[in-house]
């Protein structure tokens, strides 16, 4: 036996797959968003509102990977977006290979924006590159402003933080300023959008970001 030195990251095979997928999506003009959050953060409601607002101008698709999301897939389709349920069999995250299989099964023809609804937790999904163009995470007001302290990696790897359920702010001791400060300390480049999908507050700013980034991706 001989010793072979490698010094390779254990996720290297995934990182390579993710790069290849990202390149292919760029060529096809599909803007893929990896959407991460805890379970119950209002992800599906937020997505539904986004689809309703943008479906006239963009062809939207949703890859549902959350374990409890079969109901969500039907809801998304009723709004007029393409949707597929990925059966993750209890896995705690999506990797690039699983994302590719889901996208291929769904078909990427006539898609401008695709959302990957990742598994609902703030730990494992942050460690795997899915091949997405951008990472977006959702934190809801009832979850609390201390989450950046507890799950720093998730906030560090995200390009956008959407704070949902802003209409419930009067009922919780959620300090938006403190939360923003904590998040920006971890990740100075992050875009933060406080929204309420229910009242529509803040949705316009988020959608403008999405439209602009999609335009850049398709160039």
């Amino acid at each position: 036996m001989k010793v072979i030195e490698l010094h390779k990251s254990v996720t290297e095979s995934n990182d390579k797959d993710a790069e290849v997928l990202r390149k292919e999506l760029k060529e096809k003009g599909v803007f893929l968003i990896n959407l991460m959050s805890s379970a119950g953060s209002g992800k599906t409601t937020f997505l539904s509102k986004t689809i309703l607002d943008l479906k006239e101008d963009y062809r939207i698709a949703v890859l549902e990977a959350d374990i409890d999301a079969s109901v969500d897939a039907e809801k998304i389709e009723s709004l007029g977006a393409k949707s597929i349920q990925v059966h993750t069999d209890g896995m705690c995250h999506m990797d690039a290979g699983m994302t590719r299989r889901g996208l291929e099964e769904m078909g990427l023809e006539e898609v401008d924006i695709a959302f990957l609804e990742n598994i609902g937790n703030l730990i494992c999904p942050a460690e795997y590159d899915t091949g997405a163009s951008k990472n977006v995470m959702i934190l809801s007001v009832p979850e609390g402003d201390d989450k950046p302290l507890k799950y720093p990696l998730m906030f560090q790897t995200s390009d956008v933080l959407v704070i949902t359920k802003m209409d419930t702010l009067p009922y919780f001791s959620f300090d938006l300023e403190k939360c923003t400060e904590r998040v920006q300390f971890l990740n100075p480049k992050i875009n933060i959008f406080p929204v309420s999908a229910k009242s529509g507050e803040g949705m316009k700013e988020w959608e403008e970001w999405l439209i602009e980034e999609t335009r850049k991706w398709k160039e």
Partner: protein, 120 residues
């Protein structure tokens, strides 16, 4: 929390390496695991032993784990300290402006392998 999927990614990397280098058998795999990488080494070993018997290349591969101690660097006083003992706040000057220098990684350091050449 995702030890088994890390095992499958390691296997994939080694499969590719084996093909490029005509490796027929792997005797051992040494991983460097950071103290705060979030990987439970006991559980990782269980996953390894469960997985390897199903994977011809790794069937006889022993897993060796080397722990890398976590070190945090303070941007204010420019000193280093043990992450696990003190956390985010610098014990030298009390600053919060600190970042993890090492201890979050998980890498395949080396393997012991039999190649077709070394056999013949």
């Amino acid at each position: 929390m995702h030890e088994l999927s890390i095992v499958t990614h390691v296997a994939k990397t080694l499969d590719e390496l084996a093909e490029e280098n005509h490796i027929s058998k792997i005797g051992s795999v040494t991983l460097e695991v950071g103290e705060v990488s979030g990987i439970m080494t006991d559980y990782f070993e269980d996953c390894w032993n469960y997985f390897k018997v199903k994977h011809p290349l790794l069937k006889e591969a022993k897993l060796k784990i080397e722990i890398i101690p976590a070190i945090t660097f303070c941007e204010d006083c420019k000193k280093e300290y043990e992450t696990v003992k003190y956390g985010k706040i610098c014990p030298h000057c009390g600053s919060e402006h600190t970042y993890l220098k090492i201890g979050n990684e998980c890498t395949i350091k080396e393997i012991e392998a039999e190649t077709e050449e070394s056999q013949g």
